[in-house]
């Protein structure tokens, strides 16, 4: 356990040192504040309109940004140490492969959680202070849920990055796979589903379609942040199929959590089974 804490602390400190945390925190805060003000520009309005609009546009942005940040943060976590030669060295220390992986993941997860909470938290505070229409009391609930689900989304893609990092033996290949994972989960998956839906003129089994949506963590994340707002659901296209079913937020968050645990467990198992 001590070793895991040592590795996690180093990873976290590295993140502070190379300004990952600072850069992502600032990016989240600036984007969130900008969206709060210009999110309704398409409807001909400027300025903070309503919380639901802000959260929905934030969710649409976060779904692109957070997976990318998480994947880029951790794609080289294991394969990078392997290439440096420090992995071999660490294996002669009193730390197991699983312990090393757990420690590094905890460090990265802490970094990502910190910058997500800080970045969007700062944005919420600014909105509460500046916008007259927004009361703190109304902001706390939706933003808390948004931040919690964003952290889980980030962790899910961190776990995916760790899986990629353990199955590859070259950093360049891991980077390629990470980008591919981003394309598939964030862009291609929904397009393909939409294609199926249009191609069959909507004659897809409802249950099957729901399952397909719930398989993708980015869709689950969007559902979490849409179900809270009835009017937003109408503007969310395809997701409304599921949103209308009224999945409980708890269940959706559990799916996101599973998306963290399963790839990470698989990565740990594969890493532990490595011969050398």
């Amino acid at each position: 356990m001590r070793e895991i804490a040592i590795v996690a602390a180093k990873e976290f400190r590295d993140g502070l040192r190379n300004r990952w945390v600072l850069a992502t925190t600032l990016a989240f805060a600036v984007l969130a504040i900008a969206l709060a003000w210009f999110g309704a520009a398409a409807a001909g309005q400027i300025g903070f309109t309503r919380i639901s609009t802000t959260i929905v546009s934030l969710a649409s942005l976060a779904v692109f940004l957070i997976p990318l940040i998480a994947l880029m943060m951790a794609y080289d976590s294991i394969v990078g140490e392997d290439e440096k030669g420090t992995l071999l060295l660490l294996m002669t220390y009193p730390i197991s492969r699983v312990g090393l992986l757990a420690g590094k993941f905890l460090g990265h997860a802490g970094m990502l959680a910190l910058s997500t909470a800080l970045g969007f938290g700062i944005a919420a505070a600014v909105i509460g202070l500046v916008a007259e229409e927004a009361a703190f009391a109304d902001l706390v609930g939706p933003f808390s849920l948004f931040i919690a689900s964003a952290i889980l989304l980030g962790w899910a893609f961190l776990a995916l990055a760790y899986l990629i990092s353990t199955i590859t033996r070259e950093k360049a290949r891991a980077a390629g796979l990470a980008l591919l994972a981003w394309f598939v989960f964030v862009l291609i998956y929904d397009l393909a589903l939409l294609g199926v839906l249009v191609g069959t003129e909507g004659r897809v089994d409802q249950g099957l379609f729901q399952v397909l949506l719930l398989i993708n963590p980015t869709d689950v994340f969007r559902l979490v942040n849409l179900t809270g707002f009835e009017e937003a659901a109408a503007a969310s296209g395809m997701l409304s199929v599921v949103a209308e079913q009224g999945f409980s937020v708890g269940r959706l968050m559990a799916i996101l959590a599973a998306w963290t645990v399963l790839p990470l467990a698989l990565a740990a198992a594969l890493f532990a089974a490595r011969r050398h």
């Binding site: 040592i6 180093k10 030669g85 420090t86 060295l89 294996m91 002669t92 009193p94 011969r275 050398h276």
Partner: protein, 310 residues
């Protein structure tokens, strides 16, 4: 048994590649063993099996009386030091931060890490980022890392590759110091010149098999390579040549006043007496076979049967 490392009939295969075949090797306390061989001869694989990173495909590995992959492995690892070949540490950390990180993982007090930095001569550069270090400084940092916790057994994989002669000497000075404190050292190298005086014993590997194992003197006796003798003569070489011909030897003239010939080591004194009896001889130089020629000899032996089979 007092041996620090004991390999019994150890083999390791990677698929069809036989990296190490039926290896028997022992290292005593305070002994410095040189593991010599070409790239791919099985040196690193042998080290990894001693470290417990790799399991042998067959045979038994014992380190300090324990199985390095057994239940005592965690405790055992605290007593081993390892410097891998081609390790590049965390570039964005300072030397001090890197060493402190490894010290924490090895459960060693931080102040020892700082002390080690001084000892390897990195005191002044300790707070600079590793990115700015020269190859020699990185290797010193690696060595400091291997020395954390005063290990009983030190494994150094190519510790002097890419180092300048002074840095190389520093590394061997440190190894000599350690030997005096009873630390066993296994080091692999293919830079052979000047290494022999630092090694107690030599093990030569080729194609994963042990070709020779013993002190350098023992290997010289075993290889029975000729001595190379050079004699400087004051006048023409004729008289000396005649004398040598009487002993059944023929010399080459290197220069007008310098002759050279090979002779079996067993006849050294006989030949010396003959040369010294000659008034024309002004200087005599005898070269025992170097580690390099021993290495070449045993590697050639290893290759010979393979060629015959092919």
């Amino acid at each position: 048994m007092n041996s620090v490392v004991r390999l019994e009939n150890v083999s390791r295969h990677f698929g069809k590649v036989r990296a190490v075949v039926d290896l028997n090797l022992e290292v005593a306390a305070g002994e410095v063993l040189g593991l010599l061989g070409h790239n791919g001869a099985g040196k690193s694989t042998t080290m990894k099996m001693i470290l417990g990173v790799l399991a042998p495909s067959a045979g038994q590995v014992q380190v300090l009386g324990e199985n390095p992959r057994g239940r005592a492995a965690g405790h055992l690892r605290l007593q081993l030091g390892y410097l891998p070949e081609n390790v590049s540490f965390y570039d964005n950390l300072s030397g001090r931060e890197v060493l402190r990180y490894f010290a924490r993982l090895k459960r060693i007090e931080i102040k020892h890490a700082d002390h080690l930095l001084e000892r390897v001569g990195l005191g002044e550069a300790a707070d600079r980022r590793v990115r700015t270090y020269s190859k020699g400084m990185r290797q010193r940092l690696g060595l400091a890392q291997a020395l954390l916790g005063a290990p009983k057994l030190l494994l150094l994989d190519e510790p002097t590759v890419g180092l300048d002669p002074i840095a190389t000497r520093d590394v061997y000075d440190m190894i000599n110091e350690l030997r005096e404190t009873g630390t066993s050292v296994i080091l692999s190298s293919h830079v052979l010149a000047g290494v022999e005086k630092h090694l107690d014993r030599v093990a030569i590997l080729a194609h994963g098999r042990l070709q020779a194992d013993g002190t350098i003197d023992a290997l010289r006796a075993q290889a029975d390579l000729p001595l190379r003798i050079r004699a400087r003569t004051t006048s023409l070489n004729g008289q000396v040549n005649e004398r040598l011909a009487g002993l059944g030897l023929s010399a080459r003239a290197v220069r007008a006043d310098l002759i050279e010939f090979d002779a079996p080591a067993s006849r050294k004194l006989e030949i010396m007496r003959a040369l010294l009896a000659d008034d024309d001889v002004s200087d005599v130089h005898v070269d025992a076979p170097s580690l390099e020629s021993l290495y070449t000899h045993f590697n050639r032996l290893a290759d010979a049967p393979e060629d015959a089979n092919a």
